[in-house]
């Protein structure tokens, strides 16, 4: 098992201590990081924001954590993830899990080839993420993720 979440997060995919005034900026940061890695075009960022506008903040899947994503579309060039920790917690309007401190961006080219990534993500995000949120550099984050991965 050599592929861990840490291996999937390049420096471009990681934004630590992002300033976001509202949920749209927070999602936009996650989208910008995905675009920076070559995973998506800017259009995907708009799609992710539209998804929350239309469906509500269902992407806030656990206390403090939002999984920003939209459906597979031409705006997705390859499967990818991004990691955006927020400088200040942001309200997304979720009844149970607000406020958000971490936005993970996810782009998939179809409905199943990213399953290993999802499995890695679940392994890292289950349990306490406080330590992960303390990382101040990408290297530190990746090291913490590796420690955190069972």
């Amino acid at each position: 098992m050599s592929e861990t979440l840490a291996d999937e997060l390049s420096d471009d995919a990681i934004i630590l201590g992002a300033e976001a005034s509202d949920w749209r900026s927070a999602v936009r940061s996650a989208g910008d990081a995905l675009t920076a890695t070559g995973s998506t075009t800017d259009e995907y960022t708009a799609e992710m924001i539209r998804a929350v506008q239309e469906l509500g903040p269902y992407i806030v899947i656990a206390p403090s954590i939002a999984l920003a994503h939209s459906r597979p579309s031409p705006a997705v060039l390859k499967t990818g993830i991004s990691w955006v920790s927020l400088a200040n917690p942001v309200e997304f309007g979720h009844s149970a899990n607000d406020p958000v401190r971490l936005v993970v961006g996810l782009a998939a080219v179809d409905h199943d080839s990213h399953l290993a990534t999802m499995s890695n993500l679940a392994g890292v995000l289950s349990g306490d993420i406080d330590r992960l949120l303390e990382a101040t550099t990408p290297e530190q984050l990746r090291a913490l993720i590796r420690e955190h991965t069972q």
Partner: protein
């Protein structure tokens, strides 16, 4: 037994929910088929399912189905999933 995990886009939250539900079912020793679906196809699929797992935003959208609709707040909380699934399983 058939279970449908529902979300908005079919690639993110439903997949996570499906993965964790399968983990829980294995631990409980329950034999069930879990499918991930987005809300568009979920309504149709829910007609053949015994249980629907979803987040609060979609619970009302599923509509009138015979399946038990279970709302999960924390998709990573295996305890929450275990408690709620156990309560919904036929004895």
């Amino acid at each position: 037994m058939k279970i449908v995990a529902v979300c908005g886009m079919g690639i993110g939250t439903s997949v996570l929910l499906k993965m964790n539900a399968e983990k829980v079912l294995r631990t409980l020793g329950v034999d069930a088929d879990v499918e991930a679906a987005d809300i568009g196809v979920a309504r149709g699929m829910a007609r053949d399912a015994q249980i629907v797992l979803t987040s609060e935003e979609f619970a009302s959208e599923i509509g009138e189905v015979a399946a038990k609709v279970i709302v999960i707040d924390n998709f990573f909380d295996l305890e929450e999933i275990t408690t709620k699934l156990t309560a919904a399983l036929p004895e």
